[in-house]
Symmetry: C2
Subunit: 186 residues, 2 copies
């Protein structure tokens, strides 16, 4: 519920809470009323601002994609010395998002789904990966293995006992990848 000293606009609060709830339960299980409640406004205001639930979902999609593009642009502009160049996407992401960010979970729903926004986002990621890999196949392979951690995060945590997206888990996972891969990137 939106607290009294929440200085976000109602519109932003609705968008943020929708993102959070969509990531948590999936858009289908989240009602407009619940979004309104979480944002501290009426259900009618949700559709007043966004037109429809579907349009809100598209707005959230664009918002998330926009966030990511910002991160990648910044990443391309001044490459992080801590990255080893091809180090994991998940790693770069986690270091730039608040630890309780709903974005990773939202991506895990967006990327494998049928939503065109997921396909568009994947294509962007692929283009980026393409620039550091000798062949398209290799780029796809590395990208997919990287994203897999995001998609199966909770399953991995379940069997290994460590969240692979935590600082410690990510280090171990990256080490495992380094052991498994040839260093070969040209």
């Amino acid at each position: 519920m939106r607290s009294v000293d929440d200085d976000r606009t109602a519109r932003a609060a609705i968008r943020d809470e929708a993102l959070r709830l969509f990531a948590l339960d999936g858009p289908d299980r989240v009602t407009v009323r619940r979004i309104g409640e979480a944002a501290g406004v009426s259900a009618a205001l949700v559709v007043h601002h966004f037109g429809s639930k579907e349009a809100l979902r598209e707005t959230v999609d664009r918002h998330v994609v926009g966030l990511l593009e910002g991160i990648f642009d910044e990443l391309a502009a001044n490459p992080d010395p801590a990255d080893d160049g091809r180090a994991s996407l998940a790693d770069a992401l986690l270091r730039r998002l608040p630890p309780d960010s709903p974005v990773p979970a939202y991506l895990a729903r967006l990327l494998p789904g049928d939503d065109p926004a997921g396909a568009r986002l994947f294509r962007r990621l692929f283009e980026a990966a393409r620039r550091h890999a000798p062949t398209p196949e290799r780029a796809a392979f590395l990208l997919v293995n990287d994203l897999a951690v995001l998609l199966l995060r909770h399953r991995i945590a379940d069997v290994l006992g460590t969240d692979p997206l935590s600082r410690e888990g990510l280090a171990r996972w990256t080490a495992e990848a380094a052991t498994g891969y040839e260093k070969g990137r040209t």
Copy 2:
């Protein structure tokens, strides 16, 4: 719609059509009426046979998990010489399922989701992988990378132009994996 010369029991037809539709659109977007229609029966019969939509979903879960266990048992009993031992799970699966099987798509929804059945299944898969890997971390790494193809199938097909779960695509993907991994498995 169930045709006149469909010799499945109505119960089996409902279960099969539910599996197909769940895989296609996700359980939330599939109504009991639609399942009934696809199976050629009334909506009331669906709940008559399974108690509720939720119970039907659980039945379908168990059915799919049962199918997979059958495949794995058979695989363990007489290992396929075409497999190189640690060759992809997806590969083994695809060779044993009809080409239009909804099972891969269903798995892609089950495994990353919050459904306990997905977690249970993943644990089983992990135990199997554990037996061929030197450490739990390595087992998880190989398994996850293998499953990633299943989860991101359409995204990969989109950027590479070839379905990675087709005969040809799978061969190329496996080759890519072989290039990328150390051969080292002991």
